[in-house]
């Protein structure tokens, strides 16, 4: 067999993250269409005031996307030691902001619960909890992704490790974009 020492052409994590994003987009499109159908199915849709902390959470999440990009630019080789240090610090800030967002979402759920609005209170509340809980779970997946890929970059800042961090970053930014979309939907429908 004639063969060469060249491997296939691209780094799969770059494709993989976009395929994953396609699947998540499709599933949230399904939830959204389910919401529209459910809203028109019966006259029991109740409007309620969204907890204001959601907007602060949004700011935290968007800020985390910015710090993540700043971190990534400092970690691309050739990396000087001070740049690597500030890069790692910015990554840590990104993760803290991400976890703050999740904590803020928990606070929003508690605020609604204090008003007597639970998962099964009505269809609008059901969709509010479904959207926000599932988004938070996906975001926690992003936290794991960032921790794992940044640890890999720290061990060996090779092309593959940097590409994996890049893919985790794309996912993180997508989580931000998805949240902005969900917040818009919630603001309109709730």
């Amino acid at each position: 067999m004639e063969a060469v020492e060249n491997a296939p052409s691209v780094i799969p994590s770059r494709t993989g993250v976009w395929v994953g994003i396609a699947a998540i987009t499709m599933s949230f499109a399904a939830y959204t269409s389910a919401m529209l159908v459910r809203e028109s199915a019966a006259p029991d849709w109740q409007h309620f005031q969204l907890p204001s902390i959601l907007y602060w959470n949004t700011l935290a999440l968007l800020a985390s996307s910015a710090t993540l990009e700043m971190a990534r630019r400092r970690l691309v080789p050739p990396v000087a030691a001070p740049a690597a240090r500030s890069g790692r610090a910015l990554l840590a800030i990104t993760l803290v902001l991400g976890l703050l967002f999740v904590a803020g979402q928990v606070a929003a759920w508690r605020a609604l619960a204090a008003q007597g609005i639970y998962l099964a209170t009505g269809p609008s509340a059901s969709f509010f909890y479904v959207f926000t809980v599932l988004h938070a779970l996906h975001l926690l997946g992003g936290v794991v992704g960032l921790v794992v890929t940044s640890a890999r970059v720290r061990a060996d800042a090779g092309v593959r490790a940097l590409a994996a961090l890049g893919s985790a970053s794309v996912y993180w930014h997508f989580m931000g974009a998805l949240w902005v979309y969900l917040l818009a939907v919630l603001t309109i429908k709730m």
């Binding site: 691209v10 780094i11 799969p12 494709t15 389910a34 459910r38 059901s126 479904v130």
Partner: protein, 602 residues
């Protein structure tokens, strides 16, 4: 036909990829080697073994149903031991019949027709056919299998909970599936287990689809252009794109169903529903919403089951016809068109759901249009036989059988696609005959063809051809005896989902039901030949050469069975398409994909 071309010099993308090169060390421990393996070949075999266990379970369930339909008052030996509530005197209750029907459908559609042709063979063969060492994400691949396996265990656990499995069918229509145990046996814990199982299954298949897509797009070896990919790889790729979208919608549907069941929400349960004299504490939900979400997945699922069969048959047939398949690019376009159109036809399952009749017409038109690419594919397979020097092996017989049952089942689809005719036929055995032929049996024939074809590569031993041919002919005759009469039963108005026809106007159908039952037992018995052949050949079959079928694709350029890293630390270079049969090459009447030789006329 592709022109052979010399590989281009390595560019920057290739340089980056050098770093990507996988370093695959053979695993040492038993657990890493055979259980939690990252090797796509082991994972493929695990999927196939899971499908084998599932298909045997599903087949026994179908025998129980068929026995009851033919002899509704006769006890089944030992049944009362296994189901003291559902069959106290050995004769199953109507509820138990529905529970068995639900589990048969769920197990067969998800854990056989999806896992074997797509996840099983796809996992084993796709990376080798594109010239890769493994899947793009081996850890996700391993997770994909174990999540699917867990889903199977969760589903089977429904047999062992006090009220047994759910009775709402494999489609789990709401509100029956959503309201809980008040609605009947199995609709408590059993139905919740069903929903959790299917949600897990979605996760497993999404991880699989992610791997298939990334591997096909990114890990193709040098010279393996999209046009040179084998038909089977094309089919798995298209199927994974369909699956990615379909399972991304079924998962949310299951999440909402689980919430309706355990958290008191009202996504699918309407207001004012009284069940067992109890007003349900729900309001405003839409049962139609479940049907839309389910069938948006459910119809593409039909193609998830059958398109790998298209690919397997298109890949295998030319090797035994010893000539190229007609219209290779047309065939790929047809498969892609089927994939695309599969998302426009889901409403044809809902003609009788109370949907707006205008919508019914809108869904009817693409349903008829989708028959065009399916028909073209069929004509390409049949047309390819003209002038062939056919080698009638078991694998090629199953390919021809695939075409036959696909056509037989497909033709009845023309009738069902029209709302006015479907109104009469929808609730009858006509539909049962139709989908078993076109989706069940055709996909099974694809699985059998794939097994007889790739077994030598997978296990390094040949299967017994004499037993294989007996298996084919008995199965071929058997399935026609089972499913063809169902069409006539349906035309005569024989309703489906009923457990017995002893006390009503359908009594006259009993002799035909008995004939179908005998045929089902006969066909099931014929599968013992297959099982024996599998086990015996795995242990005692003659050693398989590297390329026993004189086929062209890359899996036949490496030893049988292949080493852990498939190509032994090097990457093959591809010069030809997979369809180069009937050519004059140094290897005979075919040219291997990695052969640098030029063919006549080039």
């Amino acid at each position: 036909m592709d022109q052979p071309s010399a590989p281009k010099p390595a560019g920057p993308r290739e340089t980056a990829a050098l770093i990507h090169k996988l370093k695959i060390e053979p695993p040492q421990s038993f657990i890493r080697k055979h259980i939690f393996s990252l090797d796509h070949k082991v994972i493929g075999k695990q999927y196939l073994d899971l499908a084998l266990v599932a298909v045997l379970t599903g087949m026994v369930l179908s025998w129980l149903m068929r026995f009851h339909l033919a002899f509704p008052k006769s006890p089944v030996p030992l049944l009362s031991t296994f189901a003291p509530k559902g069959a106290a005197d050995g004769v199953m209750t109507p509820e138990m019949y529905l529970a068995i029907m639900t589990m048969h459908g769920t197990i067969m559609v998800f854990f056989v027709l999806t896992t074997a042709p797509f996840a099983g063979f796809g996992n084993y063969v796709l990376p080798i056919q594109v010239g890769a060492e493994d899947m793009a994400f081996p850890r996700f691949n391993m997770m994909s299998f174990w999540v699917t396996f867990t889903a199977f265990l969760v589903l089977v656990a429904a047999f062992f909970v006090p009220e047994g499995p759910p009775i709402s069918g494999w489609t789990a229509y709401a509100p029956l599936s959503a309201v809980g145990k008040d609605a009947g046996p199995g609709l408590g814990t059993g139905q919740t287990l069903w929903a959790i199982s299917i949600a897990l299954f979605c996760v497993g298949q999404l991880l699989g689809a992610l791997n298939f897509i990334a591997t096909t797009l990114d890990l193709r070896t040098k010279g393996m252009t999209l046009a040179r990919m084998p038909f089977s790889t094309w089919a798995w790729f298209i199927t994974s794109v369909i699956g990615l979208i379909a399972f991304s919608v079924l998962f949310p549907a299951c999440v909402l169903l689980i919430l309706d069941r355990v958290a008191g929400t009202s996504f699918f349960i309407p207001a004012g529903l009284v069940i067992s004299d109890k007003l349900q504490p729900h309001s405003g939900g839409s049962p139609m919403l479940w049907q839309h979400l389910f069938w948006f997945f459910g119809h593409p699922e039909v193609y998830i089951a059958i398109l790998p069969g298209f690919g397997i048959v298109s890949h295998i047939l030319p090797a035994f016809l010893r000539k190229p398949l007609l219209g290779p690019r047309v065939l790929i376009a047809c498969m892609a068109a089927i994939g695309l159109l599969s998302y426009t036809v889901w409403g044809h399952h809902m003609f009788l759901s109370g949907m707006n009749p205008v919508s019914a017409t809108l869904f009817s038109v693409p349903t008829l249009i989708i028959t065009i690419p399916a028909t073209i594919s069929t004509l390409l397979w049949i047309g390819s036989i003209y002038g062939a020097r056919i080698r009638l092996t078991t694998a090629s017989l199953f390919c021809l059988g695939f075409v036959s049952v696909f056509v037989s089942g497909g033709i009845s689809g023309f009738f069902l696609a029209q709302p006015s005719i479907d109104t009469y036929l929808h609730g009858t055995y006509f539909v049962v005959g139709h989908f078993h032929f076109v989706m069940g049996v055709a996909a099974m024939f694809g699985i059998f063809a794939g097994t007889y074809f790739w077994f030598p590569k997978m296990y390094g031993r040949m299967m017994n051809e004499t037993i294989g041919k007996w298996h084919f002919f008995l199965t071929f005759i058997g399935v026609y005896c089972i499913f063809m009469p169902m069409h006539y039963l349906g035309l005569a108005g024989n309703v489906r989902r009923y457990s017995a026809f002893t006390d009503d106007y359908m009594q006259g159908s009993l002799p035909l039901h008995r004939f179908i039952t005998y045929a089902a037992l006969f066909t099931g018995g014929a599968q013992l030949l297959f099982l024996f052949n599998l086990v015996y050949s795995r242990l005692k079959g003659p050693a398989a050469p590297q390329n026993p079928w004189e086929a062209t694709s890359l899996e036949w350029t490496i030893p049988s069975p292949p080493p852990v890293n498939n190509f032994g630390d090097v990457h093959p270079v591809v010069y030809h398409g997979p369809n180069e049969y009937g050519m004059k090459g140094s290897t005979g009447d075919f040219v291997m994909q990695n052969s640098p030789e030029k063919m006549e006329g080039e």
